[in-house]
Every structure is written in structure tokens, then in C-alpha cells.
Symmetry: C2
């Protein structure tokens, strides 16, 4: 931020506002305090029979690598709505959400992943605009070395472990480990 | 937002950028697209013996009403760190997080609540700057009619129900019901 979104002034300075305990970007002209907060990345792992659906990214970062359909939650959405939308946008598919499998914090880049497991409706899918390819994988076929993000590797590994044990539960993680 | 934070121009317009599917605030001068996303509210219900710790708000909205210690997640934090900080700021207390009890979406005001249950360390607490009062309540003593937010009522009711059943589990909710 180089100019104040409220008054257009360039007199922005990092300082700790009265009653606060951390530095914020404050406009010295109109006194507005500008807050910046982490974003939610919502996603869902679509499951069909013994397979899961992954998408190969057609966008940076991690172009060409595989991922659980996920993306920034939008204003006006519940977390569930955002996850369903991402599956639709990236894999042209519909899911019925089953449970939340992962809450995964990335404090260095101010992102919180919230990823579900869902049932892939009718086993049907396609390729969304942000994907190069979508594909159903058995556990043995997962391209572990070509996964885009640790958040998705984390959720996928827990999914397969828990499936063997008959469990549906939330896992919490973070990267880097603090 | 009245001025572009990138170039200071007031030529901002809502339009759907190429490759996007929803209106964004776009600067017609420097072409920057300005995104706005939901915020995470992190919190934790501190438990001590058969009681839970609530705080009475010294700030608006809902001044004077009771709440589970909760507040906006900050950049650089994991969800757990944010929840622990809020307990410290609002109740001058320390908690050991046990489990995530609630993921609660408020799509009309672009907030996602993520609330834990935690163990109140040594049963010690005080009154933070944003609180008028902190107090341990048994279930029978909870001031249900003086609770600040539906998100906390939701988590509290589920907590007491599950405690009777010996369960520790996540509940998902939203307001208003969609």
C-alpha cells in the first residue's frame, strides 16, 4: 500500500495505534488505520469409490503440479460454499461435503487452509479454466513428488491413513513447524 | 476504498476482470485489481473443572454482553496462536488448546469464526483491556440471554451437549442459515 485508500495521501507510516499492541499502517493525513489479515483458502478433496480427484495447476504458483481443488474464500461465502465453488471452477465437478479434514496455517504467507472431504457427485468431472488436467487417483497412484503445496500433501496423507482406520476427523497443521 | 492504494488515483470502478467471474474494484489508472476477502475470528473457550471462562465486552459491538474470548486473526499467526493471544488479551489468561469445536461462517459480514476448547492453565485469569469483567460459569450459570454473538452461543451449546456425551468434536454452522 503506497497511498491511503480513504483519502489518497501518501503520508502512510507504520506505527502502533493507541490501544493497540502491534504496528499498523496509519495515514498521517486522515488518521485511518489500515489493517491486513490472513486469508482463508477453502478446498475439498472429491472422493469417488476408492479414488480421489486432483487437478493439475494451469496457473502460478506451482504451474503444472497437482493439488486438491482449493482457492481463496470470497466475501459472501461460507467456507463450505467456497470449497464447493473451487471444485466446480477447477474440476468442473460437484461435491457433497462430508467433513472438514484439515485446518492448516501458513503464518509466513498469511494463509489459513480449510479443506474438506466430499463425495464426487456421480463420479463426474471435467477440466476447469485454472487446470491443465483433472484425474482420479488411487492411493498408490498419487504423484506425491509432484504435489503443489504442503497443505494438500498434509490433508491427502491424513485422508488415506484415516480411511484405513475408518475415521473421519479434523487434523491441524502448520508450515513451517513453529 | 475511495483511492487506489497502489497509485492514489480515484478512478476506481467495479468490474469483472478478464479471466474472473465476479466484480472487483479495479483501478482504471494503474489497472490494479483490489481483492477483498473474509476475515478469520479466532477464539478459545477456557475450561476449568466444570466451569468455562467468559468475558464481558468493554468494546462495541455488543458492549456489556458476554463472549468467548475471540478476535481477528493477525498476519503472522497460526489459528492456534491467534486464539491463545485473544485469551491472553481479553482474560489475562493462558490456555492449552484441546480441540477445535466450531467453524462458523457469517457470510453477510465476511467473517469465519474458528473457536477452540482449551484448558485454563492453573485456573488463573484476570480482566483484559477489552473486557469489563471475566468470570467462570457452570452450565447452569451461563447468561444465555446476555451473550454477544450467535457464534459463541453456538459453540457453548455444543460444548455442554458434547461434554455430557464424552465427545470432543468439530461443529460447523452459519448465520443466517442459508
Amino acid at each position: 500500500m503506497k497511498f491511503c485508500p480513504n483519502c489518497g495521501s501518501d503520508r502512510l507510516e507504520k506505527r502502533i495505534p493507541a490501544g493497540d499492541n502491534r504496528p499498523r499502517l496509519v495515514c498521517l493525513n486522515c488518521k485511518t488505520i489500515h489493517y491486513s489479515n490472513p486469508k482463508v483458502v477453502a478446498g475439498c478433496l472429491p472422493v469417488w469409490e476408492d479414488k480421489v480427484l486432483l487437478c493439475r495447476r494451469a496457473i502460478e504458483p506451482c504451474y503444472g503440479l497437482w493439488n486438491i481443488p482449493s482457492g481463496y474464500l470470497e466475501n459472501g461465502e461460507t467456507v463450505e460454499m467456497g470449497a464447493e465453488r473451487e471444485v466446480h471452477e477447477e474440476a468442473a465437478a460437484k461435491v457433497r461435503i462430508t467433513y472438514l479434514i484439515s485446518m492448516y496455517s501458513l503464518p509466513k504467507i498469511n494463509q489459513i487452509y480449510l479443506q474438506f472431504v466430499g463425495e464426487l457427485i456421480n463420479g463426474a468431472y471435467g477440466v476447469g479454466e485454472e487446470s491443465l488436467e483433472s484425474k482420479l487417483f488411487t492411493e498408490a497412484e498419487i504423484p506425491w513428488e509432484e504435489m503443489a503445496f504442503t497443505s494438500s500433501t498434509f490433508a491427502l496423507r491424513r485422508y488415506f491413513e484415516d480411511r484405513k482406520a475408518g475415521l473421519q476427523r479434523l487434523h491441524r497443521g502448520e508450515y513451517p513447524m513453529l
